[in-house]
Structures are given as structure tokens and as C-alpha cells.
Amino acid sequence: MSLGLILIASSGLFSIGLLAALSRRHAIFMLIGIELMLAAANLNFVAFWRFGPPSPNPHGALFAIFSIAIAAAEAAVGLALVIAVYRHYRTTSVDRMTQLKG
């Protein structure tokens, strides 16, 4: 059990999140992908804290806690945006939201 295995797992999770964010046309699916990418980055932080030199302040774990809080705020605002756009367009497929196109 070493840092490299955990980094491989977190990069796999990041790639899966990227897959969900790029290959879907539904707005909520793209949000799911973004949340997966954030969770993979949090795993990286905690892994590097665990395998790093001992320090009096647990910087990596606290960064992960703040990142979880910010991810929750971002998910709330993102989903509110999805609901507001759905009310106007009556669809959640991002291919049809083209009114701002130049």
C-alpha cells in the first residue's frame, strides 16, 4: 500500500468524472461529472497528507474538509441554475440552450 496506488485510483476517478462531464448532453449528468472530479481531487489531498512528513497542523485533511463544503455550495447553486434554465427552455439538454450563441 503506497501513495502510487492511491494516486492511480484517484486519477481513475478523475477520468471517470471527465467522461461523465464530456460525453453527456443532460445538464445534471455534467454536474455529476464535475462532482466526481472534485471528489477525486479531495482524495489526492488526503492521500498526500497521509504519506507526507508529520506536521503539527493537518493541512491536507483540513483542505479536503473546506473543499467538501465549497463543493456542496457549488452543487446547490449549479442545480438551482439547472432548475431555472429548465423553467425557461422546458428541456435539460444542453444542445438546445443556444440563445447566447454568437
Binding site: 477520468s15 468524472g17 461523465a20 464530456l22 488526503v46 473546506f66 463544503a69 438551482a80
Partner: protein
Amino acid sequence: MNTAAFVVIAIFTLLGALAAATLPRLIHAALSLVVGFVGLAAFYILLGAEFVGLVQIFVYVGAVAVLIVFTILLTRREATERDPFNWLGAIVALAVFGGLLWTISHSDFVWQAHVPNQDLTVRRIGDALMTAYIWPLLCVGVLLTAAMIGALILVYEEK
């Protein structure tokens, strides 16, 4: 911390995340996302950060996943919500994964022996939050309030 537990939790989490990314029906994907988040919390507990694992379950599973399910409920288009899959995104994601794997396998320090670290007790987290992290704590409070008010304004309907 042993490798067998790590492999089991990794397979659980990655399968849940893969199901969340590729299942055609949205509600199945949202519930698989819950499985992935619980696996991630198990990762945190395996790494010795038990408080972060519990915060993950409270916030991600208890709030974010429930929010996603509510939003699926509120934005239903038709009875079957199927979504076509774009294969170009899969190629890009595989390329990114290959690049990251190459980087990890070519670095030396990540494969060294495990160095034991200190325990993460709630007292240490509380001390750090009140002394070194007091500014981020207050800013996160303001940010959460602003996000809540902003989300309410976004969905407020003028009658």
C-alpha cells in the same frame, strides 16, 4: 492499512463512479453516485482521516446526492429519461487517464515505503480550525450563506 482492503474499496468506488457516468437512465446514475461517494468515504477512513470520511458522508451523500435526486424529480421531461452517449468524450477521458498513469509510474517518490503519520483527532482539527484556519472558516461561512441566498434568488418565481 493493507492492500486487500484498498483493492476492494477501489473497485467498489470506481464501479460506482463508472455506473454513474455511463448508465442511460438518470435516476440509476444518481443512485450509483451515492455508492461511489460511500466508497470514497471508506477510502478516507482507510487513510486515517476518519473525520473527513464522516464529513464526506454527511455532505456529499446526505446533501449533494439528495439535491441531485430532487432536481431530477423537478426537471422530468418524459417518462424514460435516456441520454445518448458520445464516444469522443470517452476517448478524451482515456487519453487523460493514460497521461496521468504515465506521470505516476515515472515518478520515484510515490512508490517508496509508507511513512506513518500522526492521528487526526477531532481535537487537532478543532485547534487548527480555531487558530491557523480561522480566516478560511469565516470565509466558508460567508460563502455558504451567499450560495444559499443566490440559489433561492435563482429559482424565485415572480408572481
